[in-house]
């Protein structure tokens, strides 16, 4: 199929339509709104369901109901809206149904601003909603990757009956890039999944889907089932991209936009003869634990770069376990780092000395004092 120039948000919307999206529910919020606007045209055109909900709370609970029917459903929002969705996120995780959610992150906390950010990493990767649950979190670094991961998200969500989040940001949602869209998949009929709530139609026993387990032993079993399923996902679904890591002395770890900016810096550093490479996690949940662990045993230092205050950094530190020094660099609150900034970090690290005893966040904050004031 021909490549076409598309805006990130619209490309995701069209990719979802082609992946067989049956129903979409959302609420306007920048920098995600084009996704909703696009689907407000496209879904009715195809005779599919589109509802602009009264709030993100309502939107996610519409998604909850729709997902219970076994239909392919999706919502999208940006950070403040995602916070409101946490109720439904927790209930859906407990109900073990497949759902796809797109978070086009913006600067926070609070109302923040509408510029790109990665500050909802912890909310998506380590909870957000109440209770013990996990969800798959995919992080695109380009418009094409947003398209591909949208299609993958539906398949993964259904394969494991799990919430699947595409953790994008304002720059990827807003940028225009050439991309290739998937073939149009036909819309599936009424679900035949053995759990789907479709009414009995006189063909089977009645069913119930809920998040309630009044007997604590049942709730414990459910929690353990969810955790065991997560182990399976960790074993099978880790995705990442590696650049120039084969002979690298130093490694950068960054996802999404931060990883993309880092790649430009890595290429410049390579041109200067510095042996630096990049690990860009595609799934931040499940996290590429093994890859980071192995990396930490063969490089002289790791630089974690994010557009938040070091949320993924904590995960990396837990995996590296002091095998090598870890450094940190971030711009945040809606500020996107320039490749030059990361390049000078590479220079600093290549020059050394590095120590495993330095608290990378604290050291970064000290350096930031000069930049931000």
């Amino acid at each position: 199929m021909a490549r076409q120039l598309m805006k990130g948000n619209e490309a995701v919307a069209e990719a979802a339509v082609r992946a067989g999206l049956h129903a979409y529910f959302g609420y306007p919020i920048t920098p995600q709104t084009e996704l909703l606007e696009y689907l407000s045209r496209r879904m009715p055109e195809l005779g599919r369901a589109f509802v602009q909900a009264e709030s993100e709370v309502a939107a996610i609970n519409m998604v909850y109901g729709a997902a219970c029917t076994g239909s392919r459903v999706m919502t999208s929002s940006s950070s403040p809206g995602f916070s409101l969705m946490m109720e439904g996120v927790s209930y859906m995780a407990a109900t073990e149904i497949p759902v796809v959610m797109i978070n086009v992150m913006r600067g926070g906390p609070g109302l923040g601003n509408i510029s790109p950010s990665q500050a909802d990493y912890n909310q998506s990767v380590h909870g957000g909603g109440h209770g013990d649950y996990r969800q798959i979190v995919l992080t695109p670094g380009s418009v094409q990757e947003s398209v591909d991961l949208t299609v993958l998200a539906f398949d993964l969500a259904e394969k494991y009956r799990i919430n699947t989040v595409i953790l994008s940001d304002g720059s990827i949602g807003q940028m225009m890039e050439p991309c290739e869209l998937p073939e149009m998949q036909p819309l599936r009929g009424v679900s035949t999944e053995p759990w789907a709530i479709t009414a009995t139609m006189g063909q089977r026993e009645h069913r119930m889907l809920s998040s309630i387990y009044l007997k604590v032993s049942d709730e414990e079993k459910t929690n353990i089932r969810i955790l065991n399923r997560w182990r399976q996902i960790e074993a099978n679904e880790v995705r990442f991209k590696e650049y120039y890591l084969d002979d690298a002395d130093f490694a950068i770890i960054g996802f999404g936009s931060a990883g993309r900016v880092a790649l430009t810096a890595v290429r410049q550093a390579r041109a200067e003869g510095i042996k630096v490479g990049l690990l860009r996690p595609i799934t931040v949940a499940p996290f590429p634990v093994q890859q980071v662990a192995e990396l930490s045993k063969r490089v002289q230092g790791i630089l974690v770069t994010e557009m938040n205050g070091g949320q993924m950094l904590d995960d990396v530190l837990r995996i590296v376990k002091g095998n090598c020094p870890v450094e940190f660099f971030a711009r945040l609150g809606g500020v996107v780092p320039f490749p030059d900034e990361i390049l000078s970090e590479i220079h600093r690290i290549a020059k050394g000395p590095l120590s495993v005893d330095v608290d990378p966040r604290s050291a970064w904050l000290d350096r930031m004092a000069a930049i931000v004031n």
């Binding site: 049956h22 369901a49 109901g65 459903v73 479709t198 139609m201 119930m208 309630i212």
Partner: protein, 258 residues
């Protein structure tokens, strides 16, 4: 000479209602309302295409009593969840069953917008003037002066505001097609309640949009009254504040022949 014996069935267990005992307190009207819903489902032959949406409150376990598919919504979100289901499966019959705390407090936005969208779902709204499940706290429908565990000297409207008359409020919305209030305090009213449920369900089946039947209900346990006294309390106190009647009947609904 043997006279032919004329048999007439006057009582049967509704097919849509499972033959189990409920967890409801003695004298609670949830059981009455369940039975009415089940009878209407039977009469309209809806059982196989029905999807119920339970809410959070005493009736949260309604799925244990009906032989139909059910989901359980988060507190107040049943109309949103029903919207999601109905938009995916428009030819199924979808109803929510909600208490007054659920519908008129935490779920106010969801019910108002489902109604104003003209969402083609039916809502059974149980108004028992308190939060039953959590032990009888003040609800948005608690009457002025009514004692609850969180308005212990009686609801003081200066501090705690006034009750909400939900049917009157939703009736103002163009999207709402059938909004009525009935009561469950005596057989005559119960029969009228059933008729209203029938019309509400027909409204949905004919694609005429949002329908809601508000049912004035008792909560003997939390009201600290006997079942009989609580029926009297409902009639004496709730009916005057919440007048029974048809608040919105779209002409297309009025024309329906049932």
């Amino acid at each position: 000479m043997d006279l032919p014996i004329q048999e007439q069935v006057v009582y049967e267990h509704p097919v849509a209602l499972l033959d189990v005992s409920t967890h409801y307190c003695p004298g609670c009207t949830h059981g009455v309302a369940h039975r009415l819903v089940a009878e209407v489902i039977d009469e309209m032959n809806l059982q196989s295409k029905t999807i119920g949406v339970a809410s959070v409150g005493c009736s949260g376990f309604i799925y244990n009593y009906f032989d139909v598919d059910f989901v359980v919504a988060a507190h107040g979100r049943a109309p949103a969840m029903a919207t999601g289901i109905k938009r995916c499966l428009p030819d199924r019959f979808v109803f929510t069953y909600q208490g007054d705390g659920d519908l008129a407090s935490i779920g106010m936005a969801e019910i108002v917008h489902a109604a104003t969208r003209g969402e083609n779902i039916s809502v059974i709204f149980m108004n028992n003037a308190n939060y039953g499940m959590t032990g009888g706290q003040m609800a948005p429908t608690t009457l002025p002066g009514q004692k609850t565990t969180s308005s212990q000297t009686g609801r003081d409207v200066e501090q705690q505001g006034f009750p909400i008359r939900v049917s009157e409020m939703l009736a103002k919305l163009d999207g709402a097609s059938y909004v009525v209030r009935r009561s469950l305090h005596d057989p005559k009213n119960i029969r009228q309640a059933k008729k209203a449920i029938r019309i509400a369900f027909e409204t949905q089946l004919r694609g005429l949009g949002f329908s809601m039947v508000e049912l004035l209900s008792v909560c003997p346990t939390n009201w600290n009254l006997t079942p009989v006294d609580s029926m009297k309390w409902l009639e004496d106190h709730m009916v005057p504040y919440y007048p029974l009647g048809d608040y919105k009947v779209h002409p297309a609904v009025a024309e329906m022949r049932i």
